[in-house]
């Protein structure tokens, strides 16, 4: 690995390779911040996702991690066009999704399904499990008569580990873990290729989390699924993902296989994130060195100039960091980092230093704008 620091030749464009299922190119999602009752003028934007490129290979699990407000969920929704991207495009199995409309898009959606975080609010409380599962089948003309559908539903339930008696029950009759299984069964019902799972286990108790994580892995082996897993828990993401992308303030800062990412995090933010995660082992906890970040996540409505992380970065340098936004570039084979100084930090030529905490302005647009209650989007993204 000694020569690996030299930049590798650019890999062929991902969407040309046959084993790539999803390619995301320069996707941006900006939410307007509106003020005023009559004029409804736009006073700024929340840059929830601001230029992300990534590709997910067929049959792999791509994990997207980051803290709240970094745009990971918005990115997941933008891939499925549940939220309309402001710019950029998503290519799914050779088809540009942004060119699709109406019926074509609806048909395409059969192949990409979503599992949501909170199973209680993503399942209709007034629909029985049977009706929840059949709805998708009907919508995509997969309901081939009562008998075939009945058989299909029973297979689905046994695949996710629920008894067949569940069909007549309603969501409130199940525990959190079982509800998440229903959510997964609903996604599986239409035989998708891609499942986007947004925080699939974070609402569950620890002992139940492992059941759902194992279930996702088993289903992937059984049905050859491709996953895009979005989560804030790096330990969970590392466990299930083949490759991991780390997001910070709307952009990817690092991307690598999950083993590489853990063994040698290159971006200062990833280093801090990894060192902040508590490990359930006192021996490890007593010895490890924490990189404590000062301050909070800046507002996505007013992201810092240059590198988004420079306001909190212990490795920040006097030049480039605050003026030039770093591109995601391949520093080691298959290991991409968006940091100007990644090589120097890796070699230990740059040492971390103290960082003065910078006040994070919750408002952040301009001091002249009068405060008329919290701007809903900013608040929602900045809890």
């Amino acid at each position: 690995m000694s020569t690996a620091v030299t930049p590798q030749p650019e890999t062929p464009r991902p969407d040309t390779t046959a084993d790539t299922l999803v390619t995301v190119e320069g996707i941006k999602v900006h939410f307007p911040i509106k003020r005023g009752v009559i004029l409804d003028r736009t006073v700024g934007h929340v840059y929830a996702v601001d230029g992300v490129d990534l590709s997910v290979r067929r049959g792999e699990t791509y994990g997207l991690v980051g803290e709240s407000g970094c745009g990971k969920s918005t990115l997941g929704r933008a891939v499925l066009r549940l939220t309309e991207p402001t710019a950029g495009r998503v290519v799914f199995d050779g088809t540009d999704l942004s060119s699709l409309k109406g019926e074509e898009l609806r048909r395409m959606r059969r192949r990409m399904q979503m599992v949501f975080q909170d199973p209680m609010s993503s399942l209709d409380p007034r629909q029985s499990v049977e009706s929840i599962l059949v709805e998708g089948l009907r919508a995509h003309d997969l309901d081939k008569g009562r008998e075939a559908t009945g058989k299909r539903l029973r297979t689905l339930l046994s695949a996710v580990g629920l008894p067949t008696t569940s069909l007549r029950k309603y969501p409130h009759e199940f525990s959190g873990g079982q509800r998440q299984r229903i959510g997964i069964a609903r996604a599986l019902a239409v035989e998708p290729d891609l499942i986007i799972a947004d925080e699939p286990v974070s609402a569950l108790d620890v002992s139940v989390q492992a059941q759902v994580v194992n279930l996702l892995e088993e289903l992937q082996d059984e049905f050859g699924l491709t996953y895009l897993v979005i989560a804030h828990d790096l330990a969970v993401v590392r466990h299930i993902s083949d490759r991991v992308g780390v997001m910070y303030l709307g952009g990817l800062v690092e991307e690598a296989t999950s083993d590489d990412l853990y063994a040698e995090p290159l971006h200062p933010y990833t280093r801090a994130l990894l060192s902040a995660i508590p490990v359930p082992d006192p021996l490890v906890e007593d010895r490890r060195e924490r990189i404590l970040l000062t301050g909070d996540l800046p507002s996505p409505a007013n992201p810092p100039k240059g590198c988004r992380f420079h306001t909190r970065c212990p490795w920040k340098q006097a030049t480039r960091c605050d003026t030039e936004r770093p591109e995601l570039r391949e520093v080691l084979p298959g290991h991409k980092v968006a940091c100007h100084w990644a090589e120097d930090i890796r070699a230990g030529r740059i040492r971390p230093h103290e960082v003065e905490a910078v006040l994070v302005e919750e408002e952040g647009i301009s001091p002249d704008v009068p405060l008329v209650g919290p701007a809903s989007v900013t608040e929602a993204l900045n809890p």
Binding site: S207, H232, L234, A235, P280, P282, E285, L293, V360, E362
Partner: protein, 331 residues
Amino acid sequence: MPLLEVRDLTVVFERKGEQPFTAVDHVSFDVEPGQTVGLVGESGCGKSVTSLAIMGLLPKRGARISGSVQYEGVNLLSLSDREMRDRRGRDLGMVFQDPLSSLNPVIPIGLQVTEVLERHRDMPRKKAMVEAAELLDKVGIPDPNRRLTEYPHQLSGGMRQRALIAIALACRPRLLIADEPTTALDVTIQAQILALLKELVRDMGTALVMITHDLGVVAGLCDEVNVLYAGRVVEKAQRHELFAAPRHPYTHGLLSSIPRLDAPRGERLNPIRGSVSDNIPWTEGCAFAPRCPNKLDVCVRVTPEQEDIGGGRLLRCHNPVKPPVAEEVSV
């Protein structure tokens, strides 16, 4: 003498026309001055109700509390509301999980800090403001004088939690109860808050009762750990012993079901089967028995008693996990 001595604390919620529900069932533990004690368990295990009972914050109607909570020799459960109000904030501080709902949204942060100082230390407003600014500075809030005039919604989640800790520490209580103080926060902010709590415990000699579901947080912070399941303490041990050799199948199961950042990848997790709703009542046997891989016939017939297994460890189990054999030195 321990600072806080909880003995057989039992909380039963009663509602007309419904079965009484025992949320906390004969929980006993001690907190020595300056010690950090962890109460660990999943949702519904009674850890939060325990803390509310100690603080006297449970409603008088509907909750039947028995046992004793001795704080410096005084049984807190026998105090009147007025006496308890004098103690809360002065002797006992509390930090809650969700800072946004535990701070008053229509009162500036500064007033919420000075309120405690004026109430318990009879400080004049002006002096209290100076002290409040110092407190905010101490918990790591930048530009404290400006923050004093701001409202909770203008602060970020991490800052709000810091403000809440500042309020809890305003009168330098000897005991601080923190109920999931970092659960609502991001990991990097969680690391900041945990470091802050650790520092405060060390510098001010405050004893800390840490209530959490996160075994990782416990591993780095607590001296002694109590693992709760369905309202009872199933295992108690010093943290090094507990993590090195968990004896209760529940503790063991919890530890092996968490994906670890530093463990080799590729192995399946070992989840605990079933969910909390499968429990049987403690009066009939062991509540964990239906989910337990070590279940024996006796487990569903006889309630396991808490036994001292040496080394300051307590265990409530008929068929505990065998302690790992002393590791052989590999050549």
